[in-house]
Amino acid sequence: MQLTVELSAVRFSYGASPVLDGADLEIRAGEFVVLAGHNGSGKSTVLKVCLGLLRAQAGSVRVLGGSPWDATVRRRVGYAPQGLRVVTSIPVSVGEVVTAGLTPTTPTWHRGGSDDGIRVRSALGAVGMEDLARECLFELSGGQQQRAILARALVADPPLLLLDEPTTGIDQSLRPRLAAELRARADAGATVLAVSHDPDDFHAVLDRIIVISDGTIRQMTHEQFHAHFEVS
């Protein structure tokens, strides 16, 4: 299978001490990988380096066979940040937030149409929110807002999904459905890299757990992960 995420000897620091110090990572198309680690260990930094939001200070980063700084590569990546990043006094509907996920891949003059509507409804259906497209996002619970953000990442059917704590705030009973949806995307050929402090959410569907610790990335089994984190 084709490599979709390649990090080689990546170094990155916000200050004096490096968050990533010689980090290596390879993920192939169709893999569902969970990136775990302690708070502040650099999990989100790995995603941001892959997204081109942060530039690695050393080493090389390739995403979908190209540079993360290439706009044509970025348009093929679905990104769901942790929590709501919109702070505003203007109401925004769930449908508008999800439709924004189609905007990077549509021409400027595209006015939207029934095809967009179908895709938005499909993405909302995938996260169990098919009836909430017209609701104001800020009137929903934190878990529903997180699901809307996840739907925005899914709506364009990208070949690479980079998800930062995608189950934050979401009810335990809904998590298996979301995990199954992401597994289905991986089975269809997409790569899923989900940052999570609790890989148990995805235990039944993931291919690998990778753990970031002391600036480096290691692979672990589910049992090794629990043993490591219970000890530490």
């Binding site: 706009a71 970025r74 702070v87 509907s93 924004a100 905007t103 017209r134 009137e139």
Partner: protein, 275 residues
């Protein structure tokens, strides 16, 4: 002939309606991005442009337009480059541009009542030439926003995610401030450079109290912008001595108060509890 049907009143209706449509359209993206006060800063820049135009003997609106657009683009570049904090940049522009305008106008012996007209508008004395310029500038703002609406909204919703998705965020931000500068120049004769920013913000704020989506907020903002403009103008015409710019802005504020009251009554529902 009734004062309401005089040709100068008709010209004023056209100018007020044009600004009433265009200002909330671009203002929605500014409010969403928490840049509600940038119109004020650009208004001060435009005043310096008027002074430069006066000193160099060309039409004030072109001096205002050129200075506002160039200054707004430089301001945005400095802000995004992180070389200067947003509020500090605005403060420097506020005071620097105003001081430059006063110095240039006094040096050219034009610091008189016409300066007051630039700052606070004088829509009842506009010529058809002024109307053509103002409506053309408003038409440019509308004509650019319509095709770029989805892109501007995606950036306004979440700049980091839009950037991660390969969108030209910096270029879209520059487009937003450039359109704001064009709108400020268009509104100079209508409500003046000190009050034009209010039409960027107040109708949008009022619309947001009545809507459940960004699109509906824009639609309400445009409707309330036009209604406030025409309503305030009619009040000024009926009373006879009041400055239309003041009555227009006060009418917009009244619309905001009414919308906030109506919105609160309609929104007596609790956020959903399920996750």
């Amino acid at each position: 002939m009734s004062v309401f049907a005089e040709s100068w009143a008709v010209r004023a209706y056209v100018a007020v309606a044009a600004v009433g449509v265009a200002a909330p359209l671009i203002g929605s993206f500014l409010v969403q991005r928490r840049l509600a006060l940038i119109g004020d800063g650009i208004g001060h820049l435009a005043f310096a442009g008027v002074a430069i135009g006066t000193a160099l003997a060309f039409a004030p609106v072109w001096g205002a337009l050129a200075t506002a657009v160039v200054g707004a683009l430089v301001l945005e570049r400095l802000r995004t480059a992180g070389r200067i904090a947003g509020d500090l940049a605005l403060a420097l522009v506020f005071y620097g541009a105003l001081a430059l305008a006063v110095v240039l106008l006094t040096a050219s012996h034009r610091f008189d009542s016409s300066a007051l007209g630039v700052l606070f508008g004088n829509v009842l004395t506009t010529s058809w030439g002024d109307i053509v310029v103002a409506t053309s500038l408003c038409a440019v703002v509308v004509a650019v926003i319509v095709p770029f609406y989805r892109q501007l909204l995606a950036v306004a919703l979440d700049e980091d995610t839009a950037r991660a998705a390969g969108m030209p965020v910096d270029a879209l931000n520059l487009l937003t401030v450039a359109l704001t500068a064009i709108l400020v120049a268009a509104g100079m004769r209508v409500v003046g450079l000190l009050l034009v920013a209010s039409l960027l913000v107040i109708p949008v704020a009022a619309g947001s109290r009545l809507a459940h989506s960004f699109r509906d907020t824009v639609a309400w903002g445009v409707a309330l912008g036009v209604m406030s403009g025409l309503g305030g103008l009619l009040i000024a015409l009926a009373q006879g001595t009041l400055a239309p710019s003041g009555t227009i802005v006060l009418t917009a504020i009244l619309a905001f108060v009414c919308a906030a009251f109506a919105g609160r009554r309609a929104a007596r529902r609790h956020p959903r509890s399920s996750s």
